[in-house]
């Protein structure tokens, strides 16, 4: 992916942009510095993130924990380039992405980031196989047969090898979440971002889904950042980042 163009505002670049990513070694998949984000308008405007800095390493699973409304999900959406910060910088594999164009951020999402959401967000009219092939189709690096083979292999990895042709509506909640994990891994992204991936599942399925996510990510050397309320899940991560009032706390 081409490096995004420099800021065209004519203002001097922020200090965070001038400084190279600390520890810019190849094992840092994602890094952000001093992220600020406001939500709402007028009197309802809330300062949700107050200078969040963070980095995620390959093969490492990081849990962001904290009470509802503390800014966990907002941080995740900013890191996933689904939203833009009001201030601060985000680097994806050493490329500054925070203020890049919509097209560049979209391309980066497709190539480097996989998402797992709490409510699965599968395409209901498509089969499990089609859902997993969807990101690959957009990236367009594999042939149709290669995509189908890879999708089938990923579904097999998440234990759904015999349900590849079932529609999303014909799968249970836990199965749908496993399809979502397979889909997040489809393009072999450097980063997996998961927003409450087990939040909608029972304890047994939560364990299965978490184990799958972390095992596959570690095998592939992917950085996993997940937001969770579940202390059991958080305690099984390599790193826990507690958050309160829009800031990480130690």
């Amino acid at each position: 992916m081409p490096l995004p163009s420099s800021d065209s505002s004519g203002l001097p670049p922020p200090a965070s942009r001038l400084s190279p990513p600390a520890g810019g070694s190849a094992d840092i998949a994602l890094r952000c510095e001093n992220l600020h984000r406001y939500l709402g308008q007028g009197e309802g405007r809330v300062h949700v993130l107050r200078g969040v800095s963070f980095e995620a390493r390959r093969g490492n699973v990081t849990a962001i924990v904290g009470p509802s409304g503390c800014g966990k999900s907002t941080t995740l959406y900013l890191l996933g380039l689904l939203d833009q910060p009001d201030d601060g910088s985000i680097w994806i594999r050493d490329q500054l992405m925070s203020n890049s164009s919509d097209l560049d951020r979209t391309a980066a999402r497709g190539e480097h980031i996989g998402f797992v959401f709490q409510f699965h967000f599968l395409m209901q009219e498509f089969s499990a196989l089609d859902n997993v092939m969807m990101p690959m189709r957009k990236l367009g690096q594999l042939t149709e047969e290669e995509m189908a083979a890879r999708a089938a292999s990923l579904l097999s990895d998440v234990g759904l090898g015999d349900k590849t042709h079932r529609l999303a509506t014909q799968l249970s909640g836990g199965e749908q979440q496993r399809v979502a994990i397979a889909r997040a891994l489809a393009n072999q992204p450097a980063i997996i971002l998961a927003d409450e991936p087990t939040g909608n599942l029972d304890a047994k399925n939560s364990g299965i889904v978490f184990d799958l996510l972390t095992r596959l990510a570690k095998e592939n050397g992917q950085a996993v950042v997940l937001v969770t309320h579940n202390p059991d899940i958080a305690n099984r991560c390599d790193e826990i980042k507690p958050m309160r009032d829009g800031q990480f706390v130690t």
């Binding site: 996933g80 939203d83 980031i113 998402f115 395409m123 498509f126 969807m134």
Partner: protein
């Protein structure tokens, strides 16, 4: 198949009933557009054929005589000229064609002319044993006139035969309406009176042009006989001209007028009021039927707008997977395109089958033409224009929701704050 098209095809089934309603609207809209255009243009075409078959493509009549001439005054150091020839006041029309045979030769040299016929016309009173009635005699050379009219077909629709007329010097061909009024049948004799002249003729054939104004008054007889009866030993009342390309008649008439110095009137000029009426009817039918397409378009817009609302999460997930705003817009444009393609194809099939069915439907029309079933005109342009109308409406209906879908912010949707 492109991924966007694949997604669009699946989204299509999301609101099956509304989609089917929109699709049916497009099918009926395009179909009825084709049928109404086929009918109106069918009747117009038939009318044109009828008038060409009776009065020809061009009629040459009335000599144009210049009454004023360009004047040039010269002097030692100047020259001045007054151009007055083009002015309307500077011409006078002298009734009839003085030297019709010379004129015929000249007319035959026009490349687009396929036939020329001299006609000597005059008013007569026709007497039968039942009653008398006024009529108009048309003196013709049969073979010449057959080349500029559909007289042969008109006689075959009536009774008697052209051969009978050809071999009977005192034979006449009479319109069906007039024959009925005089209660004459083929073989009967009748007396025609013109001024002091009065002669007996035999009815050799009855023709049916379908045009009441013609069938009620026109009597065809041999040219020599007409000259004798009407005491018009030379000249002609008018010359009827047939063309290979009837659409070039106005240009040809203008050229003939300039070259031959006789008034020349094309069929378009002669029948302008009827043609305008047909044209207005055609536009009116198109506008009326287009409202069906328009209403379907509104339904389509509504359906697509609902799909955008229902599919916001899918749009967000697609965006999170790297699908661009353009991809999202294309999915909805594809939705419109699929409905458009299926709708227009269905519309073509419906239009063609109803047009065929209507063309077989029996009706009895007499007056401005004679038809025994609905007249239709098959033209690819009816299908093209119907499709274009549907394309404009459907694509406009698709573009607005598509743009709205493309503007959605994935972060807002997932956070649950999208507008």
């Amino acid at each position: 198949m492109s991924t966007n098209l694949r997604i669009a095809l699946r989204f299509l089934t999301a609101r099956k009933r509304s989609m089917l309603m929109s699709l049916s609207g497009i099918v009926f809209g395009v179909g009825f557009f084709i049928v109404t255009q086929a009918q109106t243009s069918g009747f117009e075409e038939f009318f044109v054929k009828t008038i060409l078959g009776t009065n020809g493509a061009i009629r040459i009549e009335d000599k144009i005589q210049a009454t004023m001439f360009p004047m040039i005054a010269t002097g030692a150091h100047f020259e001045s000229k007054f151009e007055v020839a083009a002015a309307r006041e500077a011409r006078k029309y002298v009734e009839g064609v003085e030297e019709p045979d010379v004129m015929m030769d000249a007319l035959r040299r026009f490349r687009n002319v396929s036939g020329v016929s001299i006609v000597v016309e005059g008013s007569v009173v026709a007497d039968s044993s039942f009653k008398n009635d006024t009529a108009k005699v048309y003196g013709i050379r049969l073979d010449d006139h057959l080349a500029v009219s559909d007289l042969a077909a008109q006689v075959s629709r009536g009774s008697g035969s052209l051969e009978n007329f050809r071999t009977t010097p005192q034979g006449v061909l009479m319109g069906q309406e007039l024959a009925n009024r005089l209660q004459l049948v083929v073989g009967d004799s009748l007396i025609l009176r013109a001024g002091t002249e009065q002669r007996r003729y035999r009815l050799a054939g009855i023709y049916a042009s379908g045009v009441r104004d013609i069938d009620r008054v026109r009597i065809f007889m041999h040219l020599g006989e007409a000259r004798s009866l009407l005491k018009k030993t030379t000249g002609a009342s008018f010359i009827q001209v047939a063309l290979f390309d009837r659409n070039r008649a106005p240009q040809d008439a203008e050229q003939m007028e300039q070259v031959l110095k006789h008034g020349a009137q094309s069929w378009q000029e002669r029948e302008v009021s009827w043609l305008e009426a047909f044209h207005a009817l055609q536009i009116s039918a198109a506008l009326t039927v287009s409202t069906i397409i328009l209403i379907s378009g509104l339904g389509m817009f509504n359906t697509l707008a609902m799909i955008v609302i229902e599919k916001t999460k899918e749009i967000a997930i697609l965006r999170s997977m790297g699908y661009t705003r353009q991809d999202i817009a294309r999915i909805f444009i594809w939705l419109g395109t699929i409905v458009l393609v299926l709708g227009t194809m269905g519309g073509w099939a419906l239009g063609a089958s109803v047009t065929y069915g209507v063309s077989k439907y029996p009706i009895h029309l007499r007056g401005i033409f004679s038809a025994d079933n609905f007249q239709v005109h098959w033209s690819i342009w009816h299908y093209v224009v119907g499709t274009l109308s549907a394309a404009v409406v459907v694509m406009t209906a698709a573009i607005i929701p598509a743009r709205r879908a493309a503007r959605l912010e994935p972060g807002d949707i997932i956070r649950g704050t999208s507008q």
